[in-house]
Symmetry: D2
Subunit: 298 residues, 4 copies
């Protein structure tokens, strides 16, 4: 880089994203994790590292692809302490989410077959219960304007308030009058489906770019995608402002399909760290030292 | 059955199943139908006939396969009267649903990857809300005995009462204290999932074999399947007695995935007929005459 | 066409297509059939009837969907005479195959992921062996013009001559200097793939519309599809002239994937009939009578 | 290994596998790579690192899953030098390939639907051309014994000789009387299919465990899998002796489906390194330094 003014946006933004979960398990516990960033044209995985400690014995861990094309880690964890972590460096498109308000709506009969599934109600996006409200409030809009109107309304009328239960459906959050990012996503999805716009739940990381350190996320993020103009488009009713540095992990009908961690039996969580930061343009992952005991030394 | 010596059970049972729906549409209406009996080792399609009248113009109708492997008809119906019908002759295994109470449960870690999806809550099988009740009531059983205990409890405690809304979830039906076949199926599915037994919703026809004419079904039927002993097994909490003559159409997470008819917009239903009868061993479909006007003459 | 004013082309063309195969089997014989016309926007199945006689016992027959989305009948046929038949009435788009010569080629990097598979060589479309010839002969063309140049060349230089072996690859037919429809299709596919145009083998019926009775087909037909302008487009190097009344059954890498009949063990074929005719606009299938002995009376 | 009593086999074997390819490209070149070790119960990915240098701009690289479930990297490489590398540490089952000679053959009618595809001939496994030879030579065996007899015959009769062309089919290698691992695999697959045993091509790394340094592989390895006793079983006609340390990358119909690298256009390969070594039980990947110029310093 020279001292001369750099006039154009960088072609890419390098980010490092990851998490570390620590559990204390009393019993052998089957667990599923949906946590690997996708390797897509708009977000390219440069380097990635998975750590599960103690290292599972053969037969105790593998990956599979679910119905929606997401990668799932499947683990039978032994009793005792458990660390599950992923750390990745990606190059992402540096521009914020594009404005798609001008995009027209597909009439239902013009949607591709594969999108129809995302018009149906699901556990947490109970769109059928919001149909009347959806048409009353947003029936006057169409296409990208309509989806944006949904986001504007949710963003303006629901304060962000932590504490929502993992069992809260879109309708319940709407009635309760407060939401976390998961609820914002479910509500966006549910209203879109009620309006015959295919919509799906999306989860991943949202980088801290342009955000003051004290507002930085301590958790994964959730948003939603609506099918407009022949593609799935990103919407985020929680922030409701274009953001750069989004890293997509998975999409599904709702949070039931793509929970970061699904455990069968009690799995007390001791600690959780999530990171999502801009790094230098050629940065890789730092080395790690693994002690013979199997636990990572920081 | 008479006292005369029955030499052997017939190798197959021939049934004729079908339906006819008549609508009066005011607008062009996109519609989905999941109604074709599967062609499976246990139920073989001998002959089948679809009728959609008026016959849709090219581009207005086709079939596709959904995420769960079910065949879906997709139609853009013109305003005016609409008739949708399917009529099929099948050979089915003549024996009633087998007793699988002795089958052990798969621990979660021994389930195949593809079955895990059916442990998650869904729109109408909101298993997460029934977890405490499930373990209190059925935690003392395991495997086939456990699933049977769920069916026995539902059958004994919930009267069959028509009138349930198409938006009723398992929990809501349970609280309301009454159920139609759809609710019995959702409750069976939800309790199984809460108990870590993969379960899915199944829909189709249930033949009138051994049922007095005045108790014969006027509608499609719904039941559920639980994954036990390496296969999906049939359970029917509504009837809770082994039945012959079941004809499977589709399986999915719940009724949202495999509704017989999904319409986008108002689609007033004028009439509905469903049939499911034993026929002679070599019977085929009767001929139909189609009038130039495009509507079937009986 | 006459000088009289043609008011408008018919919206649809109704055709009846089907086949009847008769075998004499000495042993229990596993068999696969890929013979059902697809139900697509451009060809709508109005009525269809499958006949397998003697009717297979439960467990001896079912259908499944292959890797390419085609429906396959799977049968374990008993020793003795066997009849396998399908008869269907469809409405197809009445216009001949459209001219797509103006369509540009997708550079490889712009192809969708799912099309890449169809750039690879396969058993009978051994494109890698034809690469030099392909670029020499057709390297000066691009897009739709290039695919048409392939068809023109094949049509002009290879006489249609029955007798090709079912094991003949594209290269072998090309060297032999004669071809049946299957070879024309394999050669079209192979040249396209060598030129980095995704191409796949297509099979089905070609109706007798506008063909004198004595030239009417006695067999199924094969052609190919090339991916141009974002869709699979029909090409037929055998006829090399736009035809109406095409009915698609299946697509695959080559004839190995979508053979009409695949038998495991000897299966002497006694007779074969194939039909593909225009019918009246509201015609259905004629009734059939099935004798108690299980064989159809004409 | 010492003379001291070894109390038990280690539960796992840690291996490091990887490759580095260097190209000099004249033009923008679309490329596909199938090179990531699978994350399976028998081989667990501990850590993995992909390097593509220069780092592709957004939109120039992503991954997708092919028809067979394999992960494919898709790249549009810029003109100039190109480095593509993957480096991974895995824990694999420490035992050599198990003996499966006792396993019976599935009659064709008892095979699962998904295995039938692997009975058909493919580009390089031209089983239809080897049918007579297959039955003559191996018709007296069945099941695991039969597949082993195929391997014994190939191993004994074909000298390993480098230099086979990438276009060589099983039949051609058999006639030529010499083979590389790819040909051994194609011949194993082709003979099995001719004998109605589903078989597929497998590729990956074969660790250097117990092999003198000067015989260590400088390349990827290929072997095959046959479907016996309800599972895909490993066979390796090239080595024809049970080996430990196998790392599976992909499976497909033959090498056309799962070539390590597929390039569209000329892509001169400057150098190639492949490694597959046992490491210490807790070893991870070494750190790498990446220079600002984008090329890795050793």
């Amino acid at each position: 880089m020279s001292a001369a003014p750099v006039l154009r946006a960088p072609e890419r933004l390098r980010v490092r994203v990851g998490f570390e979960l620590r559990y204390a398990l009393e019993y052998p516990t089957p667990m599923l994790f949906v946590v690997e960033p996708q390797d897509r044209p708009f977000q390219q995985v440069i380097e990635a590292r998975r750590r599960v400690l103690p290292e599972p014995a053969p037969g105790r861990m593998h990956s599979y692809t679910d119905l929606f094309g997401n990668r799932v880690w499947r683990l039978l964890a032994a009793p005792g302490p458990l660390l599950v972590s992923h750390d990745a460096v990606l190059d992402v498109v540096p521009h914020p989410d594009p404005d798609v308000r001008h995009l027209p709506k597909h009439p239902v009969e013009a949607l591709p077959d594969h999108a129809l599934h995302y018009l149906l109600p699901s556990r947490y996006a109970d769109s059928d219960r919001l149909a009347a409200e959806a048409w009353d409030r947003f029936g006057g809009f169409s296409g990208g304007e309509q989806v944006q109107a949904v986001c504007d309304h949710l963003h303006a009328s629901l304060p962000y308030r932590a504490g929502s239960d993992s069992g809260t459906s879109a309708t319940e959050a709407y009635r309760a009058g407060a939401a976390v990012c998961r609820d914002f996503a479910h509500l966006g999805v549910a209203f879109c489906r009620a309006l015959n716009v295919p919509a799906r739940y999306a989860c991943g990381y949202l980088g801290d770019i342009d955000v003051p350190p004290d507002e930085r996320p301590m958790d994964f993020h959730a948003w939603f995608e609506a099918y407009l103009g022949g593609e799935w488009r990103t919407f985020d009713a929680r922030h409701n402002t274009p953001r750069a540095g989004r890293v997509l992990i998975a999409t599904g009908r709702d949070a039931a399909d793509v929970a970061f961690a699904t455990t069968f039996g009690d799995a007390p969580l001791l600690s959780m760290r999530v990171w999502a930061d801009e790094t230098g343009p050629h940065a890789g992952l730092p080395p790690v030292a693994v002690s013979p005991a199997g636990m990572e030394t920081p």
